[in-house]
Every structure is written in C-alpha cells, then in structure tokens.
Amino acid sequence: MEIPYTVKERKDTGLYNAKLGIWLFLASEVMLFGALFSAYILLRVGATPGTWPHGLLNVPLGTLNTIVLIISSVTVVMAWASLKMKQFGKWRMYQGATLVCALIFLVIKSFEYNDKLTHYEVISKVGDKYQVHDGHLISEDKDKVVLEPSAHRIYTSRAIALGFGPVAEVAHGKADHDPKAHADHAPAKHELVTIQRSTIERMQNYAPKHHAYLAIYFTLTGLHALHVIGGALVMGYLFGPGAKMWKTDPERFTNRIEVSGLFWHFVDLVWIFLFPILYLL
C-alpha cells in the first residue's frame, strides 16, 4: 500500500500532501522570522537615543535587490503556469531566469556585506587626546591605516563614552528620524585620513560585534540569504536532474514546482519587510 495523495488532492481537504507540508513549514518560518523581528524591535526601542543608524545601507542597491527578488517571484509563478499549460520549454526559460535572479541577488548582497566589513571605526589616542575616525579602509600596513571617511556611520557606546557621538544631534531632535539623513548617498569626496598604528587603541570593522544594529542586520539578512541559497539549490535541482520527472510523472513534477515556488515567494515576502526596516527606517 502506498501513501495516498502524493499527487492528487484529498477530497475533504482539497490538498495534496506536499502542499500542506510546505504551508505548515512556512508557518513555522513565520514564527522564526517573527522572533527575529521582535528582537529587532526590542533592540531598536532599547537603543541609546541617536545611535540607531539611518541610511547606513546603500538604498539604491537595496532597491535594486528588491526589484530583483520581485522579478524572480514573477518568473517562479510563470514557470509554474507554463507547466500547467504544458509548455515545458517556457518553463525552462522561467526557471532559469529565477536562478539567475537568485544569483544576482546574492552577488549584490555580498557586495553590500563587503562594504560593511571594510568599514572601520578607529579610536586612537594622540597625547592624551582621543580621536575617533570612521570610514572605509583604503589601505593599511604595519605603520599606518588609511581611511576614507564615510557620510554614514554608527556611534558606538565606546565613542560616545569618549565624548563623540550623537548627543548634540539628539538635542536638536535630528537624529530621531531625519529623512535627509540618507538623502545624499553618494558622499562628497572626503579627504583621506591617515592614522598611525602606534596611536590606535581599538580598530573595529562594521561586523556584528560593532553595534546591535549590525548584529541584527547580519543575522536577519544572513538567515534570509541562507534561505535564498537553499531555495536556489532546490530549484537548481529541479531545473537540472529533477526535470526528468516531467516525462514520467508530469503532474507530480508540476506540484514540485508549485511547492518550491511557494517557498520562494515566502523568501520574497520576508525581504519585503526586511528592506524597509533595515534600509529605510
């Protein structure tokens, strides 16, 4: 006796097994990301006023990535529709397009990651005066570090403790939500600064360790990227060796495409929320 309803719907529920399964799985995913969202909210509400960065991320790139994901969502659903209409060739094209979108998304994301990981805050002490420099690493050797100051930065508790930081801005109610904060994303050419190694007390890049915002940013987008990779692997399998099933059991194959598509849409859905909360707000 085999397991029933692997292909056909069961009458009273109207579902085939895998579709029910994926929805159940997505329900748990909602809770997974839900917990991270609530962590985001708590961290943000609890942050020292003025230290939650605005416009730190590259909005044009984020927007582009959003569009890429939306396109992939459309190609996914078109792929499924093509199979429904028995147009295997069209399906191939759409499925391939989805994979390309996934790849573009990941490449763009990795550029963004790289941008953060080469962004440094350097605390140095000359005489008994502290200095805080912040910017992208241009070059470093064993004597000195060269940074290109950046228009957008995060104030760490360390910098604030040393008297630098957003305190003045908070007083003017600016740092709270300043829409202009990310108005000029292409920063004016700043002069490079050179810092002597011997004066450096602490040099820290924009990794999760740097600030709660970066911690949640990397965690959320990292987990999301893992989902993208996972989804892409499954869809790649269905695109390649898995596609043989079209010949033997087309209906089941179509179901598989539908189920993987549902997962993909969910990944897109998560991004729809990640984009504003991380890039814009």
């Binding site: 939306i70 529709a81 814009l280």
Partner: protein, 119 residues
Amino acid sequence: MSHSSTPSKGHSASHGHHDVASEVRRYLIIFAALCVGTIVTVLASYINFGSSTMNIVVAMIIACIKAFLVAGYFMHLLSEKKMIYAILVATVFFFAGLMYLTLWSSEPLSFIHHQSYVP
C-alpha cells in the same frame, strides 16, 4: 512512489488551462504593482510624516500591501483551501502574541525596571 497512481487526465480541480492563461496577465499586473510599491516605500522614507513612528507606520502599511499581493496572488492564498487558512490563522494569532506581548512587556510601564542606571 506514486508511479502506479491512475494516470492523470486533465488538470487539478482548481486550475484549468484557461484559468492559468488568464492568471498570467494578472501576475504581470501584480508585478507592476509590486515595483511601484517598492518605489513608493523608498520615496516615502524621504518624507517626514511628523514622527519616526509615523514613518514606520507608513512603511509597514506599504509592506503589508505588497505582502498581501505576493501571498494572495503569487501564492494563490486568496483561492486556497480552508485547511491552509486554519493553519495560517493559528500562526498569525501566535505571531501577534509574540510580537505584541514582547513589545508590551518591554514598555517602561509594564515592567517596573528602568532602562539606565539612573533610577
């Protein structure tokens, strides 16, 4: 495992051939709507709606609309089966509980603690 199931003729009940063809057009319209939504979110974030809370509310409303479009049409949720709804309603309930209660309990009024060293 299902190789012996009765060979399928026609299509599953919910999506006939013609439905699918007409849906394809709908997908394109929604695609356009999602793109517009994205642009609007970005633009809205440059406008000051009075307070940061208002900006968040606006952004979240747009995001919810976009999410509705994706879930409703791309994921066919609008024409989905009761069982799926039942699962999702439960999930939404718990999701709301998780979000709301953690938020509520982190309000200064709900806990008597203070956020900094100065009581």
